[in-house]
Structure formats: C-alpha cells, structure tokens
C-alpha cells in the first residue's frame, strides 16, 4: 500500500517538473494532458487508499530524515488515516477536474505550460500538507501552497493588480505563518517532538496555559491560510488569478488548510474549549461579515470569494465547537460545489471576454445552458437546500451551534444562511436571467467546449449526492476523530432543519422575485450601508492607511534619517574628528628646522617630566 501513497504524493510533482521543463516555451498541449493524467493517477491511488483505510489499518511511513539537530528530529513522514485520506481524495478529485478544465480554459494563453507546472506543484504541496505525519511537514506544505498561490495569483504578472494581489496574499499569510511557527516551537519545547502521535500522546501532561498558547498560535496560522478576519482581505484580491486557480486554491483546497489544521489538532483543541469557542465565534462573525459583503458586490468572482470566506466561517464554527467530523464533511462538500461554482464562473468569463461585472451580463441562459444549469445546481447546494450536499453539512453546523447552547452563534449562522441563499441567487439571476444587458454592450457569449462541461459533471454529481454519504462518512472519520454528541431532542432538530431550510428558501425566493423585476433601484447605491459594504467595510483602505503607508514611511525614515543621518553620520563624525585633529596638527610640520627643534626640545622636556614624576607600575 505504501506504493500507492508514494504514487499519490509524487505523481503531481512529476507532472509539475515535466511541465516546468517546457515552461518558457510556447503552448504544448501535451503538458496539460500529462499533468492531468498524472493528477488523475494520483486521484485513483488515493481512492485505492480510501478503500484500504479502515478503523484498524492506517498507513504510516517514514520516507527519510529531514532536520535533526539537538534533540529535534523531523523526518519526512507521511500518514494516511481517515482524515488525511478524505482530504487527499477531495484534493485530487477537484484538482483533476480543474486540470482538465484548464486545458480548455487556458488554451489561448501563451504561458500554458508554466500554468500546468504551477498547478501541479500546488497539488503536490497540498498533498504534503495533508499527508504529513508531523507539524513541520505540515508547515512545508503550508508554505508550499503559499508559494504556489503566489505564483498563480500573479500568473499574469504583467498586470499590476495581479502581482500586487499575489504579494498581498503571500505577505498576509506570512504574518499568520509566524504565529504557526511560534506554535510549533512551543509544542517542541514542551513535548520534545513535532510528530502528531507523540504530541497528542503527551498533551494531557501539559498545563492549560501552555495548551491555550499552543491553540492560539496554531489558530493564528489557520487564520491566515483560511483568510479569517482580520487577515481576510487577500482572498478577495486573489481573484486576480486565473479562474481555475480560484476554484482549486481559493475555494476548494488551500483555504481549507486552516480548517484542516484545527481538525488535525483537534485533540489539543478538545482540551481547551474556551479557545475553541473563540474560534467558533470568530467563524460565525466571518460567516455573516463575508456574506454581507457578497450581497452588494458586482464582481462575479469576488462574490464567490466572499461566499467562500463565509463558508470557511461555518467550518470554523463546527471545528471550534468540537464537531470535527462535521467541519470536515462541510469542507468536503463545500469543495465540490464551490469549485463547480468557480469553474462555471470561468465559463461565463470566457463567454464575456473576461468581463466580471455581473450587472453587464444578464440573460446568458440562452447562450450557455449547460453552464447555467451547473451553476444553479451549485448555488442551490451552497444555499443548503434538500437534497443537495450543502443541506446536509451546513444544517449540521447550525445544529451543533444550537446543541452547544451557543444561540448567538446559531443566530448568526441562521442569518448567514439567509444571506447566502440571497446572494447566490442574486448572482444566478443577474448573470443568467433577466434583461440581456450584454447584448447592448456588444458581447457575443458562447458556450465552452463540450469536454469542459463533461469535466465538470463529476463535481455537479457530487454537489447533488455527496450529502447522502453522511452516515458512512461519519462512521469512517469518527474512527479517528472524536465523535460529537448531539444531546438535542430529535423534534427540535427537525424544527431547526425546517427553519433553516425555510429561511434559505425565502432568501432564494426573495432574490428571484426581486431580480426578475429588475432588482433594487439605483437609490440604494447612495445609502451609507451600501457604500460600507461595497468598500468592504473600508478595511482594505484602513490597512492601507494604518499599516501599509506608515510602514513604508517609517522605513524611509529609518533609512534616510536614522541610518544615514544618525548612525552613519556618527561614524563619519568620529572619523572626521580624527582627520581634523591631524589636519590641525599638520601645521606643526612647517618644515622650519628651527621650530622643529623647538618642538623637539619641548617633547624632551615633557618626557623628562613624565619620567621623573609619573611612575607607572613596575
């Protein structure tokens, strides 16, 4: 079975390297095909592993040593257990679809080969992240996906906004990574190892303060990757990257790494429920906060990005409250329907010549039926309507919140569900139905190639049916993860389900009703609330004014004023004083023998005086 582990892990790397060989050359179709096939192989072997893993058998291998110094010993070790195998299957499945999709999406791009190289490298990093058996290995993947994300967001590097967004993403993630590193250090110095099994076996011996710090540090790391408030701004900007990238990295896989970390470190968080509650609260806040920004945005991809943020908030609520398997389940179903949504958006973008403003679309249903259907399916799944996947996972999270007697959180999520339903269908209505604004603007949309649509069908299928695997999923992962005890009465649970479904349906209904009648009037755009939301609560502006600019000015100040004017000037001044003294003393050297002789006599006199009166220690 180890064979399959290595195949899963290294097939994407191989593909990436092959594509990298041709990175600088013009488009070669086979790079896309080879990488797709290799990712497909990776997917198949992870499915084989999925079948192999059960309650008793997990796969744990140590490939080779990495860092060992002092007492620390970090190997390249990989573990395939119930959690990581779910992640592997999800990641490789979505990646395969995205790879095939990209062959169509990127067909006219001159850096076709480079794109596939980066994309496969990303999959490799992501697999390292989920398969590693220790925190340091997780950190390799963590940084690796950050790098690939940087490369892919800035893929069209000639665009200023793209390279800016890439840098923003990388640097913001670095802020969080520092927190994570601190967590790793603390774990190491308390336990003496970074291996999951050793750490989890020893955490019970640690005091609560230490555990709290570990939990906080690790969660700071998770906040960066999963773009939780206040480190969330990069995700929306990351939409500058090619759309398949947004689907793969910024919806289905990388951004869920933070959730994965919390699930993985669940044994730590289980001992510190207070921290978990903070995580859940932040998650609930982000769920509503991000959804509210999605309500008014006009950028097709940004809306979906905010929706991703919001859904990540849901996952953190579940993970924070200890319902790890539900968080993981939502992570998986979300990966399916969200990547579908993004890839559909990519089709729309192609049809509209990379136009992103949804107000300029409208009525695209006639020209691209397949995409419209797929995106509507994904939106229904996102809104959480029975029997689609989102219903099963999202409702469970609301139930957990209610079960935890965290009614405020539950209420936030409840509002979030309504908002989600509304903005999803606002998007669908504005893009696919209603007045054909694009006609007036001179666009001639067309459907994408059939194979792209076929590539999307597995995702669509899963977005519909994945929810029905809930029980087998539950049984599978709770072999490893701590199960979550529902103490809720069955009838109350039922009421909750109805309530949530009702609110979601009414959100959809309201969106359909409103936008089939031309939407909201222009006067709304004058209102303060609209301005607040469209400007993302002025947070990017705030960061620019309070962090970015002052930091740059301070740096300039440090260089021009402190470094040059104080530190260096002091050094130069010492030199100048010495030089000046010499320059003054130089006059003594007049060349006049007579005066020199007088100086000599004076010197003799001084030496005599010194010799007579000053007796150094003998």
């Amino acid at each position: 079975m180890e064979k399959y582990l290595y195949i899963t892990l290294f097939a994407p790397l191989l593909g990436s390297l092959i594509a990298a060989l041709f990175a600088a050359q013009k488009k070669m179709l086979f790079t896309g095909i080879i990488t797709s096939i290799l990712i497909g192989i990776s997917f198949l072997s992870s499915v084989i592993l999925l079948n192999y893993i059960d309650g008793d058998t997990i796969l744990h291998v140590k490939m080779m040593d990495w860092i060992s110094a002092g007492n620390i010993d970090i190997p390249f070790g990989f573990v395939v257990d119930q959690v990581s195998v779910i992640m592997m299957v999800t990641v490789t499945l979505v990646s395969t679809v995205v790879h095939v999709y990209s062959i169509g999406y990127m067909e006219h791009d001159k850096s076709f080969n480079r794109f596939f190289s980066y994309l496969s490298a990303f999959v490799f990093s992501m697999l390292i992240l989920v398969m590693s058996d220790n925190f340091a290995g997780l950190f390799i993947g963590w940084e690796g996906v950050g790098l690939c994300s940087w490369l892919l967001i800035g893929f069209w590097y000639h665009k200023h906004s793209a390279s800016w967004a890439a840098n923003e993403a990388f640097i913001m993630n670095r802020i969080a990574d520092l927190g994570m590193l601190m967590g790793l250090f603390l774990i190491y110095w308390k336990v003496g190892s970074l291996q999951y099994d050793i750490v989890f076996a020893n955490i019970v011996n640690l005091d609560v303060t230490t555990l709290t710090w570990i939990g906080v540090f690790l969660f700071i790391g998770a906040m960066g990757k999963s773009a939780q408030f206040p480190l969330h701004t990069w995700l929306a900007d990351a939409m500058e990257g090619p759309t398949p990238v947004s689907a793969l990295i910024h919806a289905a896989t990388m951004v869920t790494a933070g959730v994965y970390l919390v699930i993985r470190a669940g044994e730590i968080y289980a001992l510190i429920p207070e921290v978990g509650y903070v995580i859940a609260s932040l998650g609930a806040f982000v769920a509503v906060f991000a959804a509210s920004m999605a309500l008014v945005n006009r950028d097709l991809k940004r809306i979906i990005a905010y929706s991703t943020l919001s859904q990540l908030g849901y996952m953190f609520v579940a993970a924070g409250l200890g319902a790890y398997w539900i968080a993981l389940f939502h992570l998986m179903t979300h990966a399916f329907f969200k990547s579908l949504l993004f890839l559909g958006a990519g089709n729309v973008m192609h049809a509209m010549n990379d136009e992103l403003d949804i107000k300029k679309m409208g009525g695209l249903y006639d020209s691209m039926k397949a995409t419209a259907i797929l995106m509507t399916l994904a939106s229904i799944a996102l809104a959480g309507i029975y029997p689609f996947a989102g219903f099963f996972s999202k409702d469970k999270i609301l139930e957990v919140a209610f079960n935890h007697e965290a009614y405020l959180l539950w209420f936030a999520l409840f509002i979030g569900a309504a908002l989600t339903a509304f903005y999803s269908f606002r998007l669908v209505m504005l893009v696919f139905f209603g007045e054909k604004v694009h006609k007036k603007l001179g666009f001639h949309p067309h459907e994408v190639q059939p194979f792209v649509i076929y590539a999307l069908t597995p995702l669509a299928l899963l977005a519909i049916v994945a929810g029905f695997f809930e029980h087998s999923f539950h049984a599978f992962v709770t072999d490893l993860l701590k199960d979550y005890e529902f103490t809720l009465d069955h009838s109350i649970a039922l009421i909750l389900i109805f309530a949530t479904s009702a609110v979601a349906l009414s959100g959809i209904g309201f969106a359909v009703y409103k936008y089939s009648r031309g939407g909201f009037s222009e006067s709304w755009e004058k209102k303060g609330i609209y301005k607040l939301l469209i400007n993302q609560y002025y947070i990017p502006k705030f960061y620019e004014l309070t962090i970015q600019k002052p930091l740059y000015n301070l740096s300039k100040f440090a260089w021009q004023k402190i470094d040059l004017k104080i530190v260096d000037a002091t050094v130069d001044m010492i030199a100048r004083v010495l030089y000046g003294t010499g320059d003054t003393a130089r006059k003594i050297q007049s060349g006049n023998l007579s005066s020199m002789l007088r100086w000599m006599v004076a010197g003799v006199a001084i030496l005599l005086v010194l010799a007579i009166f000053i007796r150094p220690m003998v």
Partner: protein, 101 residues
C-alpha cells in the same frame, strides 16, 4: 674644596642648557652645529664623570663612541652645509623649508 661629581654634573648641565638654547635660538646652520657639539660634549662630560665616580669604564667607552659619532656627523654635516651654501648662498635656517608637510 674638592672638585667632586656634583661639580662635573653641574658643568655638564650648564653646557647642555647652553647647547639647548643655542639649538633653539640660533638661525645660522653653522651655529647649530656648534650647539649640537656643545650638547654632545655636555653629555660626554657627564658620562666620564659618572664613569670615574663608579669606577666603571663603560661610561668612558660610551664617551669615545659619542666623540666618534659626533666627528662623523660633523664631517657629513659640514659637507652638506658647504653644498647648500654653494647652491643658495645662505646658511640661514629659515631658508630650509622643503620638508613642509
């Protein structure tokens, strides 16, 4: 009154001061040589006197060394002086300013 070590040393000191003042004040190069000779001989007197006092011959030996060195110094110095006089027509010290730094 016996003439003792002290008197010799006083003589040596007086001569040394005369030489020193000469070195400092005189502007003629020739006079400078004279003053230097006086200085050296002042030291010689001191050496010989102390040598006699202690009954140690090394002081007198040193005096002879100094005489020899002084002689050769004068020989070389006077040669240069003559050359300088031929070239500039003056033996004034203030005209020697070529070593200005």
């Amino acid at each position: 009154m016996m003439i003792g070590l002290t008197h010799y040393l006083i003589l040596s000191g007086i001569l040394f001061i005369i030489g020193l003042v000469g070195v400092m004040r005189r502007k003629n190069l020739l006079m400078l040589f004279f003053s230097t000779e006086i200085l050296l001989n002042a030291v010689n007197i001191g050496f010989v006197a102390v040598s006699k006092y202690y009954g140690d011959l090394s002081g007198q030996m040193f005096a002879f060394f100094i005489i020899a060195v002084a002689a050769s110094e004068v020989a070389v110095g006077l040669g240069l002086l003559v050359l300088w006089y031929k070239r500039t027509g003056s033996t004034d010290l203030d005209s020697l300013q070529m070593m200005k730094g």
